[in-house]
Symmetry: C2
Subunit: 314 residues, 2 copies
């Protein structure tokens, strides 16, 4: 069985043909040319799928479906993208448009949902049925899988875990709330926290790391902490407590078997996930009754988008 997975991003559109084991047999990226408009963009993606099938000598009839990850608000039941600012789509029926080129199941979902599905079926949470993937990037995204099924909420408006309020009198958020989790746990937030700590600690090794790398990033404090810098370690510890506080909230609501951590910060791997796991273990142990929740870094990397999109139609 073969499936097409499309990972649409603001810069590039990645298209791959995936088998039932979640292996990408072939893939190719094209630049995201949103100026060409919705119909032309879909036409280009359809052409690319047909080309890739040809190269693999796979007949179109042997393609079982097409899954598409959307960088924005996608109503998966209706097949409509309500708004995807980065690619200029607004209220477009993606499934209908693809059906002009392919007579087979076509499904869309938000890209965070696709990544979660990819990790659950073929990645870090393989074999688990209750999984939440949390992406620590520019914001904090999430994908929720219960009993092996994506949970998207009414109108696909759920899984916006970055806007759980963890500090109600805290920092303002673009969503118009105050104290949203992503204001504390995103990569953006970590960079802000790092800069604040650097300003307060002029002798911290974080300044050296900054000079080496040329910029302050989500890695700066982690690298300094690894070198024994106390101020860097404090930034890391505080950041980990912020991530953990949100995971405790999510855990109390949905208690998955595992949290998969993705996004740029997850490249820290166990330096990030091990202390979060300890934080959650300590919290859950108090109750004395509940199963622990595993915490693991995402494993599919950049392929998660294509594989997860393909998994939408498996």
């Amino acid at each position: 069985m073969y499936y097409a997975g499309i990972d649409i991003g603001g810069m590039s559109i990645k298209v791959g043909i995936v088998n039932e084991n979640g292996e990408i047999l072939i893939n190719r990226a094209i630049a995201t040319d949103s100026s060409s408009g919705f119909s032309v963009m879909v036409s280009n993606m359809a052409t690319l799928i047909k080309e890739l099938l040809l190269e693999l000598s796979i007949k179109e009839n042997d393609l079982s479906g097409i899954g598409i990850g959307i960088p924005g608000v996608a109503d998966s039941k209706k097949g409509i993208v309500t708004s995807a600012v980065n690619i200029g789509w607004r209220n477009v029926n993606v499934v209908e448009e693809f059906h002009k080129y392919f007579k087979m199941p076509v499904r869309i979902s938000n890209d965070a949902n696709c990544a979660a599905l990819g990790e659950q079926r073929f990645g870090a949470a393989k074999g688990k049925s209750d999984v939440i993937m949390v992406t620590l990037g520019t914001g904090v995204g999430a994908g929720i899988i219960i009993d092996g099924k994506l949970i998207e909420g009414n109108g696909s408006a759920g899984a916006e875990a970055g806007h759980m309020i963890i500090n109600m009198h805290g920092l303002p958020c673009a969503c118009n709330g105050h104290g949203c989790w992503e204001q504390y746990a995103s990569a953006t937030a970590l960079i802000r926290q790092t800069k604040l700590a650097m300003a307060k600690n002029p002798t911290s090794l974080m300044h050296d790391v900054f000079k080496e790398k040329g910029k302050v990033s989500g890695r700066t404090a982690f690298i300094a902490a690894e070198r024994g810098d106390r101020a860097g370690q404090e930034v890391v510890d505080e950041y980990i407590s912020y991530v953990s506080v949100g995971l405790i909230g999510l855990g109390n609501v949905l208690h998955p078997e595992v949290f998969v951590i993705g996004g740029g910060i997850s490249h820290e791997k166990e330096r990030l996930t091990a202390p979060i796991k300890r934080y959650l273990d300590n919290y859950i142990a108090i109750s004395g009754f509940y199963p622990e929740i595993d915490v693991v870094p995402a494993s599919l990397g950049n392929d998660a988008g294509i594989i997860g999109a393909a998994a939408l139609v498996m």
Copy 2:
């Protein structure tokens, strides 16, 4: 079709026979005698079911199942109550024990889950498939229904929405967390908030309400506010903002069609739910994309427990 619903509480055990329309045909309560031990308690419940069937002239073969709401930690998949302190149960296999008396499906769940299921099938959220019921009582409980199915989490450890953290540097909680939602949005919290405001406002009408009723309750501030008391209104407004902050978090994670509000405070009906609805409407409107979430008071009252328990086996 007939179903038995059992609502076990710390003071009394209510048993009812319910039809497929969620109507209680007969019900009776017995005192909770936890000193008699688990086996005797189950035996008494079994006897009561048989008596009620006899009174209705319904044959045991026509009973399709037995559902039981547990005031504690219940692993519904295993049929085991891990801990229910109020009734002295710990690690007991309830389903197995009932099967000694009845050869039919027996299911257990936490009482908050049962109430949610009752309201979704036959009460305030009838006809909706994505429903969260939040109970504002001594603590804050929740029951989550997605696609018409109870979502209980791994080991039935989810739906503990009262322990979402909404104020991470805030009030300590028995769960060992800080700033849990129930520290702000429970009836217990409202009473504390009311007492604090009374101490600060010696001329508030809340003092008159207290004298009339003989105690400070979750109603005190609502009654004073109704009479035009400013301090009382401020307590109500603040309390509603606390409830709403948690609902926004839950809404961002799961975006149900409706929040059903239960527990003692929900007797305020629209005085409580209308301002919460406005709060959520204002928040959701900002996004411009997402469907609204309805907010309604629970409608089954004391019957929710029996009806919801019976719904476990429908």
